[in-house]
Amino acid sequence: MGLIQNFPAVSILLCLFAGIISSGLKKQAARYVNTILISGVGFLSLCTLMYILETGEAFVYVMGKFPAPWGNEIRAGVLEAFMALFFCIIMLLSLAGGRKKLADEVEDGKTFLYYVLMDLLLASLLALVYTNDLFTAYVFVEINTIAACGLIMIRQNGRTIEAAARYMIMSLLGSGLLLMGLCILYDLTGHLLMSNIKEQMGWIYLSGQYKMPALVTIALLSVGLAIKSALFPFHAWLPDAYGYSTVSSAAILSSLVSKGYIFLLIKIIYRVIGFEVFYESRIVDVLFAFGLMGMIFGSISAIRENDVRRMIAFSSVAQIGYIYMGIGMGTQAGMEASIFHILSHAATKSLLFIAAIGLTDVSGGSRQFIELTGSAYRNKWAGVAFTVGSLSMVGVPLFSGFISKLLFAQAAVQNDVKMLPALIVLGISTILNAIYFMKTVIRIYTPVEEHKYESIAFKNMKLYVAALLCFIILNVVLGVSSQPIVDLIGQGLAMFS
């Protein structure tokens, strides 16, 4: 039991304590604490990752004195550690990019709360990533929801509160289903620890009894998490929530929160239900179908949208559709593709959000396309960043989006039944992405005759630009040298089972 094995638990606890402490601090101090915390946690997860890669096997950390099957456990494999690290990076960058905006959107009295929520969010995310206990997972799901809700409505206007309300309702429905699923699972197997449940499930599956309850459970779990991560039919809350909250919240919500749920789902599929069992149930096909629909309809509503932030939000509906399509493919490759897309979408989408805010700021704060015309000349960096993001979304080589498209397609080809629908929809949705993103890019690069808005100087946005650059680099790295990451994912999935 090396020192490093404590790191996951420590980092979760750190986050919680940091949250509690900074609730008593001024906003500057809170920000420092938060920044240090995130980077520290990132460092810890990096160490964990290194350690695991070195030992080559996942480790289990028993919380408290009770051993399995009663006690509560944390499990850290390659994938978990990597996810934790990645989440930290994204969070750090999004906060950096959105800081200036935050300052003038949230009144000073509340700013420190923002960071408190952020700490809690990180804590819950880490817990979701690391935990080996389903009920703990549920609890942290709820915490996650609450924190996210706070992040949405920290910016005080009617829209955000309404959005928060809708968000709460949807995710409560989701977590209700999730909880129900957990209970039935517990009823079936009599365990709460993932590994134990899994072996029980395996026996049940072999014995062939309780087919119906097992199916119901799987359905409940998947649907619950699907609702929480805004899969296509349940995405009503998403555009408002992402469109009107302050930018870094939007970035983090879209790229981390929903991804956390998806990651949990993947974990459940592998470590609780078991891949084969899950694949046997027809739930995969449902997820697949909804994923495809999401890809199409998300993009279509994005095309109809006339407000850049909401457009990006809708595009994340489409992207989540991609991920579920990958899961629904029901193949190892599909799963890898989905996980890679979680990464690349996280990188790209937060980039887009932050770039978009830069563009709207130099367009008099208006987010209508008509106002955005030529804004890329007023804020060059944001323009470039937005272009990069769009290209990545459209799936142009060199950027991360292309690789995930590649992986998805390759995964699809290996499944004779789902090959054609997947590929065709992939192609169509690429065209749709091209339509709305490229439309925007062309517009922001169309110069205007009368200069009604003044452009922003570089020195006023050093941090912003730095964040953008990091995002771009991240994107290109994912796009160009994706092989090691893909290997990592494969290794992690192997460790799951």
């Binding site: 609450i146 709460m168 909880l179 009823d187």
Partner: protein, 124 residues
């Protein structure tokens, strides 16, 4: 199946309640009613858990008059879960209520759709 259903009527009831709560949370327009639905749903789940944990003619797992043997007591874990769940649902409901209050202060109504229509008017 029918006999099964009858023998575990507790679970059956829990499920029905769950359905009611879910339906309310999903379909009601009035926010307060939604929250009530939420609570019904949670409670139904707790009932379900309790049913699972309970074993005929045993007592709650609290050591009274020195009986140590495990056979005397019901399964403690569901109770623990129920407690945790209650805590969670309390906090959640609290948050929902606070949001509701906020919205009511702004818009003098509890109907979400009406609120969103008004927002459209505001053009925010």
């Amino acid at each position: 199946m029918g006999a099964n259903l009858f023998s575990n009527y507790g679970e059956a009831v829990a499920m029905i309640l769950f359905g009611i709560g879910f339906g309310n949370l999903l379909l009601q327009n009035n926010l307060i009613k939604k929250i009530i639905g939420l609570n019904i749903m949670d409670t139904a789940i707790y009932l379900f858990l309790a049913e699972k944990g309970y074993i005929e003619n045993r007592v709650a797992p609290i050591v009274t008059n020195g009986v140590q043997s495990m056979e005397a007591y019901i399964n403690p874990i569901p109770s623990g879960l129920v407690l945790t769940g209650i805590v969670v649902s309390v906090s959640v409901s609290a948050l929902m209520l606070s949001i509701t209050i906020r919205l009511y202060q702004r818009y003098q109504t509890l109907d979400l759709d009406e609120i969103s229509t008004r927002l459209k008017k505001e053009g925010l």
